[in-house]
Each structure stands twice: as C-alpha cells, then as structure tokens.
Symmetry: C2
Subunit: 413 residues, 2 copies
Amino acid sequence: MARIVMKFGGTSMAGIERIRHVANLVKREAERGNQVIVVVSAMAGETDRLIHLCREAASRYDTREYDVVVASGEQVTSGLLAITLQGMGLNARSYMGWQLPIRTTQAHASALIDGIDVDVLERVFDDDGIAVIPGFQGVAEDGSVATLGRGGSDTSAVAIAAAARADRCDIYTDVDGVYTTDPRIVPRARKIPIITYEEMLELASVGAKVLQTRSVGLAMRENIPLQVLSSFEDKPGTMVVADELIEDSAMERQLITGIAYDKNEARVTLTGLPDRPGAVAAIFAPLAEASINVDMIVQSVPRAGQKSDLTFTVPTESLVQTSDVLEKLKEEIGFEEILTDTEVVKVSAVGVGMRSNAGIAAQMFQALAGRGINILAITTSEIKVSVLIPEEYTELAVRVLHTAYGLDAETPE
Amino acid sequence: MARIVMKFGGTSMAGIERIRHVANLVKREAERGNQVIVVVSAMAGETDRLIHLCREAASRYDTREYDVVVASGEQVTSGLLAITLQGMGLNARSYMGWQLPIRTTQAHASALIDGIDVDVLERVFDDDGIAVIPGFQGVAEDGSVATLGRGGSDTSAVAIAAAARADRCDIYTDVDGVYTTDPRIVPRARKIPIITYEEMLELASVGAKVLQTRSVGLAMRENIPLQVLSSFEDKPGTMVVADELIEDSAMERQLITGIAYDKNEARVTLTGLPDRPGAVAAIFAPLAEASINVDMIVQSVPRAGQKSDLTFTVPTESLVQTSDVLEKLKEEIGFEEILTDTEVVKVSAVGVGMRSNAGIAAQMFQALAGRGINILAITTSEIKVSVLIPEEYTELAVRVLHTAYGLDAETPE
C-alpha cells in the first residue's frame, strides 16, 4: 500500500464529463489498495473569468477580497469531484483550505504555505476515505482566505504530499510528460521517462508548461517523487526524482537530458565604463535592491586604464525598470550609453550527465558555429550550458543541439 | 444614526454594472451617517448553474458537498462588492459565514441558523467599516459549510439584523414593493406602503415573489422592521412592521390589505365515510405522520347512521403521497372512493382590519356568487377569509374581490 497525492489541473476538471473521468482514475488508484488524497484546480478558464470580474470591479483591487473571489473556483470543483466519487460508491469528502487548515502567510494573491495540519487527513485514511482538497488556497493567520498565485495548485499538491508523508505526488495535466525539448520545434523530441529535480528546474522553459517551477523546488527540498502524466491518455509520464535514485543507471544515461530555450531575456549593454575598482558593484547593487534578477554577465576585458563595455541579461518585463535605475546613476557609475535588445533568446543544454564529461560546452559552440549562429553571451553551471543568441535563430539552434547531443527519436512521437 | 442591514438579491447583483449600482446605494446610506451591513445573493442564474452541475455529477448528491459548491456563488459576489466599495473609497470587507461565524444546524441544503457571533461586526462598526456578508450560508457544528435552502439570503439578512440589533432590514429586489394583489391580473393593484408581519405572511402567494416567507416569520419573532424596495428604481417600497406600529392609523386603514391566490392546492374527497367516532382522526393522523400539510377541511354533515363525504386540500406536490397513504388504510378507515382534483385555486382576502369588522366573509361570498363562481370550501382566520374555487375562475375572482373591497387604484400604477 502506498500513500499518493493525485493532482488534477484545470483542463482535467473542465466540465462534468472530465470530472467523471478524473473520478475513474482516482477510483482505480484506490482499488489498488492505495491511500489517496486528491488536489484539484478550478475548471479551465474559471480563474481567468473570476480575475476579470475583480478587475472590472476596481482597477486596483484589494488582494484579500480578490482571494475570496478566485478561491471559489477550486471550491466548486472540489465539491463536484467529491459528489462524483460518492456517486461511484467511494467514501469521498472535500476539505477547504480553511478546514484542514492549510496555513499560509498573509501575502494575499501570492501567499506561501506555512504548514498543513494533517490530523483531518489521517482520520480520513483511518476511515478508508478519500480527501478532495482545492489547490491554490489556504487560510492566513488572521483567518482570511489566501491564494498562492497562478499555478499554485501544483505547489499545494506537493506541500500536502510532504505534510502527509506521501510516497508520491502525481501531477495530472493535459500533456503526457516532460520532453527533451519543445515538440512544436522538434517533432522528434522524446518523452523523458525519469529526470532529476535539478534538471527539471533547469528545463523550466520546456517544463514550466507542464509543472510549476515552485512546486519542483518544494518537491526537491521535501524529497517527494513527482510524476507528471496526462489525464487524457493512459500511458506512463515523466518521473521527477532525487539524483541518487537514478545514479544507478547513470552509465546508460544521456549526457544531456534536454534542450531548453527562454525568450524572456533582454540584453543590456553599458558602454564606456571606467576601469576602476567597484565599478561593477556600483551597477549590480542597485539592481539587486530593486529586486531585478540579473542572469548572464559578460565583461569585455579592458586594457589597463582604458574604458570597457559590460553586457548582462534581465527578464524582459524588468527591462524598463533596469534602464530607469541605471539612468539615474549614470553620473555615479560613469558609463556612456545604455544599449538594450529584447530580440535575444537563451538556449540551454541541461543534463546531470555533463558533470562527469568535459567537452559538452565545446560541442555546443561548434554545432552553433557550424550554422553561423553568433553567440552573444555564455554561462555554465554544473548541469547546464547556456548561450545567448539572436532570437531569430531560436528554432534552428534548438534543432541543431537536439541532434548534436543525440536526443532525436528514431521516429516522431 | 441608525444601524441598517441592506440585502441585495440576485438580479441586483447580476454583473459588475449592477454591483456598482448597489455599491452606490450602500455608499449613500453610509454617507447619511448610518452603520451598514450588506448581505448579498449570488448573481442571478449562478445558483441554478451550480445546482445543475451537482445534479450532473450525481443524480443523488451528498447535500454536504452540494453546499460546498453552491455557497461559492455568494462568496464571489461578496468579494466583488467589497472590491467595488473599496474602489469608491469606503472601508469595506467581506466576511464568509464561517468567518463570523454564522452558526447553523447540521441539515445541509436546508440548514437553520442557530446563532450569529457579532464580535467581528462590532469591531467593523468601531472602525467605521462596512461588512459584506454572503447570504444563504453558514457553518455547521462540525465545521462544514451549510446553506439555508433557496431564498435563504432574506433569512440571513433578517437573522444578522436581529443579532446585530439593527434598526431596520432593507430587502432590495427587482420589484418595488408588495402589491394589493398580482398586478399581472389586476393592473389597478396598488403598492402597499405599510403592512403587518401577519398580513405579509398571509399574502405569501402575492408576496413570496418579493420576500421569502421564512424571513418574514423570523422578522416578526425578532421584531425587525423590514423594508422591501427596488434596487432598480429610487422610490419608497413597502414597510413590513409589527401590528402596534400601525394601530394608530387604523381608522384610515383599509379593512382588507390584499387579495392573494394559491394554485398549489389539490382537493381530495373521500366518499362514503362511516358515521362513527374517530373516523376523521383515522384519516388525518397518518397524513400528519407523513408530514403532509392539510389545509382546508369540509365535512358534509351526515344524517345519523348514514355515510358522509369528507373534502380537504393538500399541496399539489403531496397529492400522490396522500393518495398512497390513504389507499393503504382504505379498509381501516372504511371509505368508498378517493376523488382528487388539482384544478382548484384558493383565493384569500387578507387584512388586520377585518378583526373589528363583521361581514367581510359575507361580502366575499356575495361578490363571487354574483359572477356565478361556485365555492368548494371555506376557511377563515382572524385576518383572512379563504375560498376554494375552480382554477379557471382565478383571475375573475381576484379582480372581483379587489374591486369589491375597494382596493382598485384610480389609475393603473
């Protein structure tokens, strides 16, 4: 007997027919003798509808009241799934975030989970019951409803799995797993059967459509094995687990697990920087203070006493703010000009296997150079090599690297 | 300064434009220096949509889970109204039934209010704030959400008014008050400016479209003045108050306040009943046990030792059950035949004024006889005379009585 959290996303809960199918999946898991907790999203489109109502009501709305409104979406699907499961003869019951409770911080609309009381859940298990819990929501210290922000239901599921010491958290969605890259770009992309938390986090740009990044980080910290699978097709998905769990089969592992890309990068270049100690700190300290995430950094090495250029990337949505912050400090920093470019993309090769294998980066540069793709910046980590290139080369670069690292399937999946 | 509960029904909350108008009405009341609590219904049509989803999910659904689903409708409108009021610069906040709490019985889908904690509301008043509370819902002793049954929001409003010792409970709806009879039948029906609780209860068939009967009974017990008025038009509505409050102007009061009719009556006649003690008890005791409400009763006076007939009415939806119960006891009771008729209507003249005035009933019989309308049964109470007549005469009888008692307005309103 295992204890399993099953989480179903909005497309899986979109309408009674889909909910009935979900109930059948839950029933099958229960009939295998497993203890099941179900975590549900709102029906696809419902959260957007409710957010739109809030925006119509007032352009600047109180997030505490916003949470009251949007939390209703998961409340409805929880009740409906409990009713459907009962109709199939199962002992199911819904528990809202405030009923367990799922305790959160006071940060309405983007609350963090503080803790989850599992006494109620343990009683449900003692009674051979199935608990249905709305994702995305909890109750803050002052007794108000608080939601976790968009996509928070995945995080709810992992947090509940951790609190209830579940053996596994299954995330059912409308895709059947995590692929070696975006199948819309590379039709021969392959589904990855097993992947580490770290790789999953680095593949966020490929995987984020599948699994909320925040929930992967939590699963890693709490060491909860995740499974991403489709509620629409009955086939195995992708397991996301700790590194140790797949070390055994390392010999057979690909060096590279997948190719990711991220268009949400903007390049900033400061020209004519003076060559003096502390110049770089004078730039990045105020950006950090403004909570701007700087990603890739490239500094041209100046000749002694001469001026140099500095290039770095920030998320596209932070570009205006970045320019504002730096323009104000122009005198102090002493640069000549700010150049910006949003027509760039970061392409990354990710894989735990590269740790023990030199030459991965060189292979990447060679493959891109072979197609005449100019590299604007480079960063590397233990399990990732990333390059910044002009955005127009996105598809070409992803395809070239997918082939170069031997990831192509023999036939399109 | 007065303390006022303002309750808004589904048509008043149907969409952001309507909610904004409601917010303006609330603002006006607050700007008069009054303390305001707002109670809201779900958007028109939303509760039906949610009920339909529950029915689709399972033909026989758990009312506890049904309550989780349907309570979401008022949750959404509460949050949206709070957001809208805040957008107008008012210090508003929503409080769900479980947050106050509004404590109810465990009877899901038809719960009764046990008590309401007003500590939170008093703190809101101390803070010059406005509380927005979803009608129709509370929390049962076991911590589950419980709803009060359809139309329960009126009852929520009155119960909150009683708990908070409000001076008045204003029920905003899509009609502008209670009329002397159904204006669709009598275009010269007049709006009643002031009416007693008792009259309002007796006029249920006219007034039920306006105000839930259960809420009137509660207002009467708690002595909370009600005002029924339109959220669509800015004009005075109908005040519903205790008898004492209008006794002073009794001299000028109409003898009859209004004419009601109720098509939800079915006539049952048992023929050939033996003339023996206990025969009638043998009929009505088992009906009472089956929770069937018997209304009008007419027994033909038998000659000594001969058989007689007994006629009574039950709600139309109880007719099949009534026949079933009696058929099983046919031998025991000793009747010959059950005759039933659903093509009947009960027409009533209602008015506190008739207490001190004989001849009201005679006037009624005369007026109906004048149009050749056959009376099938009669009942009278302190403030009501009712007759059962063939349903096809409904409109004619209502019009004739409305004129006979001098209720016609000079011009159609």
